[in-house]
């Protein structure tokens, strides 16, 4: 392994040689024992340490509670969509629901009433009410 190849692999796979892909790992470990390899490995480890030591993450205060409070109070408009794209029975059930309501209403409506009768009842009931009220006032 050359100096350049070792440097390239250090950049790609990091300074922990055990994490390197199996192919080339043994050659890398052997090269790391040489002087130039050892220097490169030391520099790569110093770089890793610099990153992990300096990139300290501040503790989020109250974030957990805010997330829980919001999650349990908010509804997503995508919920219906995601519900529908689930098992096949769901969209079928949604399409069948209005049909079921229609059948139920149709079969429970009294058979003695034709459409004309129903219209006449609606149309004249108001007139009768007015007339009735008028005659009551007349009394």
């Amino acid at each position: 392994m050359t100096n350049e190849e070792f440097a390239e692999r250090l950049d790609r796979y990091g300074a922990n040689l055990d994490d390197w892909p199996r192919e080339g790992r043994a050659a890398g470990q052997a090269f790391a024992k040489t002087d130039p390899g050892g220097r490169q490995l030391e520099a790569a480890r110093a770089f890793d340490a610099l990153l992990s030591e300096t990139l300290v993450v501040p503790e989020p205060i109250g974030l957990r509670q805010r997330i829980l409070a919001n999650a349990h109070s908010r509804k997503d408009p995508m919920d219906l969509v995601s519900w529908l794209v689930g098992p096949l029975w769901r969209p079928i059930a949604l399409a069948a629901a209005p049909l079921a309501v229609g059948f139920t209403l149709g079969f429970t409506y009294p058979e003695t009433h034709s459409l004309e009768e129903a219209v006449a009842v609606i149309a004249f009931s108001e007139i009768e009410e007015v007339n009735g009220a008028g005659s009551e006032e007349g009394l």
């Binding site: 110093a46 770089f47 610099l50 990139l55 989020p60 974030l63 999650a71 908010r74």
Partner: protein, 175 residues
């Protein structure tokens, strides 16, 4: 996660406890801004709750799915605030304290943060996921949406760029 998909709030709380710190750390390292990190972490976990039913266990690992949500939200935030961020960085450069005014440790910390913030978005994400979050190259590639080979190239470029920029601080480290 299966319980969360059924709307189990206790399962969601356990899931939050298990993953919040790691996801928040990823977002903070990406944004380098405390308020943004908390906002994006909150939105990430709200999406997990609201869209749990869209998660398909056989297709992707939960941690990959979770980090992908966080990653996409970070990318959205960068795109929305690109102008603002650029302005902030410029302003910081203009008004930044001199090296003498800062302790060596603080100066080094700022340099590392600035170096990472200046990396292109995908290089930064690749470096943070693999180097600092401990995700495997394969998982990080899935999160970012690139091949493993492309991810390794991103990491290599990020490391080379940062090593050049932080050369002085690495010497300080060794001293």
């Amino acid at each position: 996660m299966r319980l969360v998909q059924t709307g189990d709030q206790q399962a969601y709380t356990r899931l939050l406890d298990r993953h919040l710190d790691r996801v928040h750390a990823y977002i903070f390292r990406m944004t380098n801004n405390r308020a943004d990190a908390e906002d994006i972490a909150q939105e990430t976990f709200l999406r997990v709750w609201r869209r749990a039913r869209t998660f398909q266990p056989g297709r992707v690992r939960f941690t990959t799915w979770l980090h992908r949500i966080a990653h996409n939200l970070c990318v959205d935030a960068f795109r929305k605030r690109r102008d603002t961020v650029d302005t902030k960085i410029d302003a910081m450069a203009d008004g930044a304290p001199t090296a003498d005014e800062l302790s060596a440790a603080e100066e080094r910390r700022r340099a590392v943060h600035a170096g990472i913030a200046a990396l292109p978005e995908r290089q930064r994400s690749a470096l943070v996921l693999c180097q600092l979050q401990g995700r495997s190259n394969r998982e990080a590639a899935e999160i970012i949406g690139v091949s493993v080979h492309a991810l390794e190239s991103l990491i290599a470029r990020a490391r080379r760029t940062l090593k050049t920029r932080l050369q002085n601080y690495m010497n300080l480290e060794g001293a």
